[in-house]
């Protein structure tokens, strides 16, 4: 995609051109291009089934691509999978912890998969347990841990060999808000330490909070790319007026909606209006005779970008 800035850019650690994955009749990823640069926090934002996980699996060298080129550290994962995986940490969407091992053993065994020697693993394991606040559970079995703890352990495990790139697939799905924020803090610390982080999410706020740059995926394609701020500036208005109509929005006249703000999206029970000034737009809506049950004005978010690009909300 058009990365023609004149400023020198850090080297790309991951580079995909025309990357495509087809499962039988279904195209999961349809010729996408992207680059992830060294030290960057990069996101794939999109609804379930958009092709994010498949893309992650191709990068991690566990899903051979159908066509296109893909380079990680300048190498083809189909040919150098093992080497590449040795420098990548992967956190799966589903819990893949070893339920037959204790918390600490999960780390020890994993280090061996990376070919580390036992002494180095032990030191690193204790360091990571400390860092992810799991030291006092080191000897416990994994099963009874809370969801947030399991996720932290998964991330700790993926970091055992100090990877250059950390890949996280939907890392906060299913976590309560407090556990989510704990995780966000941990990820930001890692990024400051120089780890390149790639994550997928269908949470707008997560992408907005964490990502330096992201691509929006929908139906196997990339539909937009940029920093969260850029995307909002390009694809959304400054403010958003939301009007709620519990009895449905079908009866509202198009002409009325067009007259309120710069753009609008009509959902089942809500009308979302992009505008410069939400208060003023609300006043205009009342002038046009609309009678919403409730309304609110907020700043535009990635949610609005997605809605604008696809005509759908993310959680649909």
């Amino acid at each position: 995609m058009g990365m023609t800035n004149s400023a020198p850019e850090p080297a790309a650690l991951i580079r995909a051109r025309g990357l495509t994955k087809v499962f039988g009749e279904r195209t999961a990823v349809a010729s996408i291009d992207f680059e992830v640069r060294d030290g960057e926090f990069f996101g794939f934002l999109g609804p379930n089934g958009a092709g994010k996980t498949t893309t992650m699996r191709m990068i991690a060298g566990v899903s051979p691509r159908t066509s296109g080129t893909l380079e990680i550290f300048g190498q083809d994962p189909d040919l150098h999978g093992s080497e590449i995986r040795g420098r990548i940490g992967v956190v799966h969407q589903q819990e893949t912890l070893d339920m037959e091992l204790s918390v600490r053993e999960n780390l020890l065994v994993f280090g061996r998969f990376f070919g580390m020697d036992r002494a180095a693993i032990a030191t690193r394991a204790d360091e990571l347990l400390e860092l992810f606040q799991l030291s006092d559970r080191a000897k416990d079995q994994v099963e009874p841990l809370s969801g947030g703890m399991k996720r932290r352990l998964s991330i700790a495990r993926s970091l055992i060999a100090s990877p250059r790139i950390l890949m996280l697939d939907e890392p906060t799905t299913g976590l309560d808000p407090q556990a989510r924020h704990l995780l966000w803090d941990a990820l930001q610390r890692l990024k400051r330490g120089g780890t390149t982080i790639v994550l997928t999410t269908h949470y707008m706020d997560e992408a907005e909070q964490l990502c330096d740059r992201l691509v929006v995926m929908d139906q196997a394609k990339i539909v937009a790319e940029g920093s969260p701020r850029q995307l909002i500036a390009e694809h959304a208005s400054r403010e958003v007026l939301e009007l709620r109509f519990p009895n449905g929005t079908e009866s509202i006249d198009v002409k009325v909606l067009e007259g309120i703000g710069d753009r609008y999206e009509r959902l089942a029970e809500r009308v979302i209006i992009g505008c410069e000034n939400g208060e003023a737009a609300h006043a205009r809506a009342l002038e046009h005779g609309l009678d919403p049950e409730s309304w609110l004005v907020r700043r535009s978010s990635l949610e609005d970008v997605f809605l604008r690009l696809t005509g759908r909300t993310l959680d649909e």
Partner: protein
Amino acid sequence: MIASLAPRAFSVFERNLFVYRRQWLMIVTGFFEPLFFLLGIGYGVGGVIGTIPYGGVDVPYAAFVAPALLASAAMNGAIFDSTFNIFYKLKYGKIYDAILSTPVGVGDLAVGELLWSNLRGVIYATAFLIVMLVLGLVQSPLALLTPVAVIFIGFSFGAAGFAITTHMRSWKDFDFLFIILTPLFLFSATFYPVEIYPGALRWIVELSPLTRGTHLVRSLCFGDLNLLMLGDIAYLSAISFIGYRHAVRRLGVLLLK
């Protein structure tokens, strides 16, 4: 040695060592089955029939049966691990997905699991050999080589079991496994010489991998070195190789989509 030859495969083996440090009882139980057969059939039935002709001489029935039970102990050790445990890991534990996100590949994974299932077979066989020594059922010092010989049995049944397991869809499919294993155990020249079978039937039984394994172990226990033992080893190695190749291919299909 294996650790330096195939470090990634060995790391998978090590993972199982970690797990079974706490579950050693499960391993111990697998040892008792052949022991009960030895007591019940070897001595029980043996007490009635006394001796049986083997290699042109009459030998005590228990001494004839024991090597076959040792071979089947190795078979059981290998096959239970490579079927039940691997099915669980493939289907429920997502542990293979985690392992394959590291430098470990499907080939390493298969070799590591087979090494492990084989260890179990070797442990059973060695324990059983000690029992045989204590009971005076060993006829030759060559019997001390049986723990090495059972490696061929362990790999062939481990690899075949692994290959079959990659096709299983639910626990119900394991019924088929028993339909194969029970007759294999009963009819593979375990309790009587293979010469008892008439014509074509005999040749089918001769092709049973357990018949070959039993022949190998029994020859050692009686100090009867013969060329057919090389055939046993070649045959079991071929099954190991084919099973391994198929298992690796199927792991690729199942896990590297």
